[in-house]
């Protein structure tokens, strides 16, 4: 049943042998040295400060949604840096390999990267940036913020939440280890078919890619289920659908998109794996298979994935812009409807990724119109943000700078998207770097929103603000880099430069390629300032500490009611929601913080190492399958089954935090008054009771 492939195989190590460790490649060798030194430093520091116990208790085994969210973000940021370095290498190769007289280094005829290595780098860059950087950062932000915004103590399924994270981490580990053991796919992040078939890619690179994305997709699908269940079932009393913050609407829409699309991707890549391992012919042309079916299945997931990442970004902008305009969001209902509409339309546009494949004009016309329809709800959102800004008291704090720049990028990315939705234009620029510039433009919208979100919610999670000065420097250098790099790339696309080329035959393109290199150098400077911002902020955390729950003074939604940093139980008493912008409503009515007359016990889940163990087994399963160490794959699979069964029989009712203990912990917060408010005997109903007496604000509440 199993197919033949070239090269040796042993029962113990499968296809793995010493030659698979690329010590002869100086780039990878020195990367390995640097990574080893970095890892040794981190592990040494943890050991020196005797923090292993803390790390195990508070992070690795934690089921707290905030901790898991922070780990998601940390993972995403590390991978963002890795993907960025890949981008630097690609830009540098292209600017060095222009024209037949350009010199070659390190074994390359032109530039310093041979085509096969270049292919791996662009494949890793795309896969990492979309699936292992942006996606984890957004899932992390949703993990932290959604339960707080709806007044919940945790996600609906805390255990599943940890499983989702550790599966994502396992997949990320596979991508990272491919740097030093074997190689990575050279078939693009999309898995260009039939290049991914065993006949054309007999190495382990495609296997690393396929198992990493399959494991990661399972994690993301589970995360989507969790967010949907949390939003539907865990909203605080009084939070009707029309009082739910817009970020939660976008999280809901994006999770529905994720839940319905990621399984298609998992299935498509699973079929590809069957082709590579079991000798089936799902995507092999001429043997009953259809390679175009892979492209179709991939983009059935691939385009909804675009909205999967852009919708939370829209939600983030919808939170930041009102806060720093000191106004409620304009057009709440249309904003919520547009979020759902974008998710709905996302399912009917995927074919515009392969207009040139040769389908009939009716088909292309249908998908062209459907693609343009996305512009309507997106346009609604842009106008709503503009009207929110209109006559607002606009402040240019760092989160707002990122948000405003994201709006500008959305305009250019959206308009070029409209161009690409037209088959006639699409035929002209298909597979050119114009397309690459367009989707980098759109993903920069997401990136800018993420940077804005990190600056915006950092004080909520860690209790101190990020440094403004270095933050602004990072923003301006990053913005300048975006304009210079992708402006040059758009122009090169118009000039006909194809994507994914390691050698540039036309010297007339050199000035714009230099422009791209300058742009990425500006990104490098921005990265320096981002790291410096973090360093300075931690160093000066006492100075930047926020003493109230509302770090910005003009925030609006419910998460700003919780203390900064948010305690592990989130809210001492479950809040009763009175208005759409609950925190703004409470602030305006003088009900910001009212001490309840008594606290009730809080039930919380216990920590468990099982999700971490599941992740470790998933990593070993993937690694075993990549190298065809079938014993390792089998042992890991059995391990997963045993852990799942063991968990099913585990009688773990969680633990209870007594009300008296909560009272003690709450006493340290200076913004909680010492005297209890009049509650009328209603626990957590302090505000509800005041709400009955306070004048209703129709503008906030209808």
């Amino acid at each position: 049943m199993l197919v033949d492939y070239p090269g040796p195989w042993t029962p113990l190590l499968g296809r793995l042998d010493a030659h698979q460790i690329p010590l002869q490649n100086p780039i990878l060798f020195w990367t390995f040295v640097l990574v080893s030194l970095g890892a040794a430093t981190v592990l040494g520091a943890v050991t020196y400060y005797r923090s292993w116990g803390y790390l195990w208790r508070e992070w690795l085994t934690s089921l707290d949604h905030k901790r898991i969210g922070v780990m998601y973000c940390l993972l995403g940021v590390v991978m963002l840096f890795r993907g960025f370095i890949d981008g630097v290498m690609m830009r540098t190769q292209q600017v060095m390999a222009v024209g037949p007289k350009s010199p070659g280094y390190l074994g390359a005829v032109h530039g310093y990267l041979p085509p096969y290595h270049f292919g791996q780098i662009y494949s890793a860059h795309g896969t990492i940036m979309i699936l292992f950087a942006i996606t984890p950062i957004l899932v992390g932000i949703m993990n932290i913020i959604v339960p707080l915004q709806i007044g919940a103590r945790d996600m609906a399924y805390p255990y599943l939440n940890a499983v989702s994270f550790w599966l994502t981490a396992a997949a990320t580990g596979l991508v990272m280890i491919s740097l030093f053991i074997g190689d990575f796919s050279h078939a693009g992040w999309v898995g260009l078919s039939p290049l991914t078939e065993l006949a054309y890619s007999p190495g382990v690179g495609v296997d690393y890619w396929s198992w990493a994305v399959q494991i990661g997709s399972v994690g993301t699908t589970l995360a989507s289920i969790n967010i949907i269940a949390t939003i539907i079932k865990m909203r605080a009393p009084g939070m009707s659908w029309t009082k739910m913050p817009i970020f939660c609407w976008t999280a809901l829409s994006t999770s529905v998109v994720g839940l319905s699309s990621f399984p298609v991707f998992t299935a498509a890549v699973a079929l590809l794996s069957l082709d590579r391992y079991a000798g089936t012919h799902f995507f092999t042309p001429g043997l009953g298979g259809n390679l175009m079916l892979y492209t179709d299945l991939f983009w059935i997931w691939g385009h909804p994935e675009v909205y999967y990442v852009v919708l939370p970004a829209f939600g983030i902008l919808s939170e930041i812009i009102p806060t720093f305009s000191e106004k409620p969001l304009f057009g709440y209902i249309t904003m919520a409807a547009a979020s759902i509409a974008i998710g709905g339309v996302s399912w009917s546009v995927w074919l515009h990724h392969f207009f040139t494949m040769g389908a009939g004009p009716g088909v292309n016309a249908f998908f062209s119109i459907a693609s343009m329809l996305v512009g309507i709800p997106t346009g609604v959102k842009v106008f709503n943000w503009a009207f929110t800004l209109y006559r607002g008291r606009v402040r240019f704090d760092v989160p707002m700078l990122w948000a405003l720049a994201a709006l500008v990028l959305l305009l250019t990315g959206g308009l070029t998207g409209m161009m690409l939705a037209m088959p006639a234009i699409n035929y002209t620029v298909h597979n050119s770097v114009f397309v690459v510039a367009h989707f980098h433009n759109m993903l920069n919208v997401v990136g800018f929103a993420c940077f804005g979100a990190i600056n915006y919610w950092f004080p909520k999670v860690f209790g101190f603000k990020l440094d403004e000065r270095t933050g602004k420097l990072a923003f301006w250098f990053f913005s300048a880099g975006t304009v210079v790099l992708f402006g040059s790339m758009y122009a090169l696309g118009f000039m006909g430069m194809p994507r994914r080329i390691d050698y540039i035959p036309f010297t007339s393109w050199r000035p714009l390629l230099i422009g791209e290199e300058v742009g990425i150098f500006l990104f490098l400077i921005a990265s320096y300032y981002m790291v410096k911002q973090l360093f300075v902020s931690i160093r000066d955390r006492a100075k930047n500490r926020v003493t109230t729950s509302d770090a910005w003074g003009t925030s609006r939604s419910l998460e700003w009611l919780a203390h900064s940093p948010v305690p592990f139980y989130n809210f001492a008493v479950q809040p009763h929601v009175n208005a759409r912008d609950e925190w703004a409503w409470r602030r305006e009515h003088g009900l910001g913080h009212v001490r309840p007359d008594h606290y009730e016990d809080i039930h919380l889940p216990n920590n468990t190492p099982l999700p971490l163990m599941l992740g470790a087994c998933a990593f070993a399963l993937g690694f075993g399958l990549v190298w065809r160490m079938y014993w390792l794959a089998l042992v890991s699979l059995i391990g997963i089954v045993i852990i799942v069964i063991a968990r099913s029989f585990q009688d773990d009712p969680g633990h209870t935090l007594p009300g008296a203990q909560i009272r003690q912990m709450e006493a340290v917060y200076p913004d909680i008054p010492r005297e209890a408010g009049a509650t009328g005997g209603m626990l957590g109903g302090v505000v509800a009771r005041h709400a009955l007496a306070a004048p209703r604000s129709r503008a906030r509440d209808d």
């Binding site: 539907i232 319905s260 399912w347 009939g360 039930h603």
Partner: protein, 123 residues
């Protein structure tokens, strides 16, 4: 804390579980998956007939698993699952329908369908 939160076995969804039905459905699922696979592997039938058999088995599996495994009905416990399943139908129709339409027009322009299964290609 509700009763089912203290004792997971009291949860209404868990109460719907029936070991015998699960096992029976599992065996039927194996048969309905294995039979089309066997037919396809041994090329028993024309491509059209094989496709009809595969689609029919898939449809039967969907109904059987939906009822006996997922317990889709309109009870208070299960209505969210039923709603999720119903909401999935338009997506399914859209993706499969539009894909079929795309391939129907694509084949006439890029390849001759009958040739795809001709002996000349079966090297």
């Amino acid at each position: 804390m509700s009763t089912e939160a203290r004792d997971p076995l009291q949860h209404p969804e868990v109460q719907l579980a029936r070991g015998g039905q699960y096992l029976g459905t599992y065996i039927v699922s194996l048969l309905l998956t294995g039979a089309p696979l066997w037919l396809v592997v041994h090329h028993l039938g024309t491509p059209l007939r094989l496709m009809i058999v595969v689609v029919a088995c898939a449809a039967a599996l969907t109904l059987i698993q939906g009822y006996f495994w997922l317990r889709l009905d309109f009870s208070r416990t299960q209505r969210w699952m039923t709603a999720a399943f119903v909401l999935f139908i338009p997506l399914f129709v859209m993706t499969i329908g539009l894909t079929a339409w795309m391939f129907a027009t694509l084949y006439t322009r890029t390849m001759i369908p009958t040739l795809m299964h001709a002996p000349a290609f079966a090297h």
